[in-house]
Symmetry: C2
DNA sequence: CTGAAAGCGCTAACAA
DNA sequence: TTGTTAGCGCTTTCAG
């Protein structure tokens, strides 16, 4: 039953080829100083014995597991997918493999996380928010000798190679867009408060409002968690008020989708009666109806870049300390001018 | 710079605690036969030195990497997400980690795949379609001594622990639903032909048609690839014909979404002028408008079960040979009765 | 150009 | 209850 009771080892190959262990090692690793004839003989022996190196043994002595971790906290599936695809894209063709490390709550488990990573024998990790923003984790990682790169951190940008997006400006731009359309009574669905970008985006909204001489009313702000359900629930609260806002700013697309569904359920027409804007430009924002106005955050590209930063450290020790990534306002169908009658009210 | 030039090892701990290596090993692995006092002393020493076992060394000697792979081919992101979440769910709290192994084309690379898995030092793998249906891969896996479990295979069900769904009946039921609504001119968007389920679902459709005394016209069958784009393109071809069908059967939800977008673009009202049904009950089918009628395939549960089967083999060697999973027809908004005038035509 | 010997850090027999 | 001695399968000095 049990297939390989004793795997064939380098010893077997060396015996069959009539050479020493070291010579086999040299051939297998394409090192110089082996006669061509011997090289061939060893290759044939390995082939004949169906030899495959034991990567664990290699890993032990080389101190390289060739395992890269991706640490993220649950929130939005579409975000996670892009993240993964980005890392996988960079790893394609390399010897490194991707180990996914979902963490339920970075905030609650910050002290255990690096232990977890260490016990996975990772050579390096790509940190998504909010882990990428957690100084404790960065410190522990450094102490443990695990290379890392950060995605979308909001602070201590010099504490490790970082991939940055300007959350504040991005948020300012979407808010600006709604204000330009004449909206003044705008509700906000915030993201998970343990993610620093939540506060950043809020700040961006505020800047836009201030510039327009408008004000963001505190009782128009609802708490969400970056999940569609939380967006749906928040929108329900918003829409059940006697006075309905004319627009909703959701801090990510999944919550915007939730808001859209809540609106549909109440037969509130989007964008005629209610504009909804999201954040991220994730896949879902393109398949809803109406499609969702959002601001593109190049998650995929950031992930590619982060993976690249990790590999760079592992392979030649050098690090690009930071990489800025552009955001783009994407106008779609879910936002429109405020309706004339509502415009009058606040005029 | 480089954090841990020389990591602290068991040796260091044994010296500090004044005991032998083996005693340290015993304490650290909670083995019996150590005096309580000694146990404590060793624990303290380990703590003081901030000792962490080298998992690679453990893996080498124990012949266990504690790495589980998930092998899948690209098609639909939502499918992959559910798959991963299922495996991760089962692995939560266990020592095992998930390594994702996306494969561009199983059909083209079938001979290289197991080499890839071996070089990742995986203890076991969960195989999603179409790898789960590939006899060559199953054979190589067995030869390599890598445990595995299959998700939704369609043949050779006894070639390894399998999680089954009745693709034929499931497909028959959705088709039946459209036929019951009076549709007779129905187009089909097929999935990737290298996935066996594509043929199975086709068969299910045919059975339903036969039972209704109807016929599936060959020129109503369009090839897709399980991706949204391919569904969109296929629907474009379908809808550009002079005579439009009254319904579309898409072999998964992503393609159904693509079809929905094509219909929207041409201002074809769904379901009034065109019914669209999908397959999978993936996340996206719930967020489009109209929401998509589909047949639920419990991907998450199958993944949990498959991961469980792998762990079972690894931990106690026993295997549940197969597990059947139910499908459920999910009626939503994208399907409706055929319009009276079109019904007359074919009457 | 080639090989012998000494580890990597840990676990497993087998004594003591 | 504890320690000694071999390995796991590979790479790496350092001689030859």
């Amino acid at each position: 039953m049990s297939a390989s009771v004793t795997r064939t080892t380098m010893m077997d190959v060396s015996r069959k080829a009539g050479v020493s262990l070291k010579t086999v090692s040299r051939v297998l690793n394409d090192e110089p100083n082996v006669r061509e004839e011997v090289r061939l003989r060893v290759r044939e022996a390995a082939e004949a014995l169906n030899y495959h190196p034991n990567v664990l043994a290699q890993a032990l002595v080389r101190r390289r597991s060739h395992l890269i971790g991706l640490v993220y906290e649950n929130p939005s599936p579409s975000y996670v997918v892009e993240l993964q695809m980005g890392v996988l894209e960079r790893l394609r063709g390399e010897r490194y493999r991707l180990v996914v490390i979902p963490v339920s709550s970075v905030a609650e488990h910050e002290q255990e996380i690096v232990g977890l990573l260490r016990s996975a024998a990772l050579d390096g990790v790509v940190l998504a928010p909010p882990a990428s923003d957690n100084p404790r984790i960065l410190k522990d990682l450094t102490a443990a000798g695990i290379r890392f790169a950060r995605i979308a951190p909001t602070r201590d940008v010099d504490l490790g190679p970082s991939n940055l997006i300007d959350d504040v400006s991005a948020a300012r731009e979407v808010a600006q867009h709604l204000l330009d359309l004449g909206h003044r009574d705008i509700a906000v669905i915030q993201g998970d408060p343990t993610h620093a970008s939540t506060a950043m985006r809020m700040k961006g909204y505020e800047l836009a409002f201030a510039a327009a001489g408008a004000r963001l009313s505190p009782d128009r702000i609802e708490q969400g968690l970056f999940t569609r359900d939380s967006g749906y629930a928040a929108a329900q609260r918003i829409l059940s008020r006697s006075q309905r806002p004319t627009a909703i700013l959701a801090q990510n697309d999944d919550m915007a989708v939730g808001a859209l569904m809540a609106a549909r359920e109440r037969a509130v027409r989007v964008p005629d009666e209610l504009s909804i804007a999201g954040f991220d430009d994730s896949e879902v924002s393109r398949i809803t109806w109406p499609t969702i106005t959002t601001v593109r955050q190049p998650v995929f590209e950031m992930a590619v870049s982060a993976a690249d930063m990790v590999l760079a450290q592992l392979e030649h020790g050098d690090v690009r300390p930071r990489q800025d990534h552009p955001h783009t306002l994407i106008l779609r169908e879910s936002t429109g001018p405020v309706s004339p009658d509502r415009a009058k009210e606040t005029a």
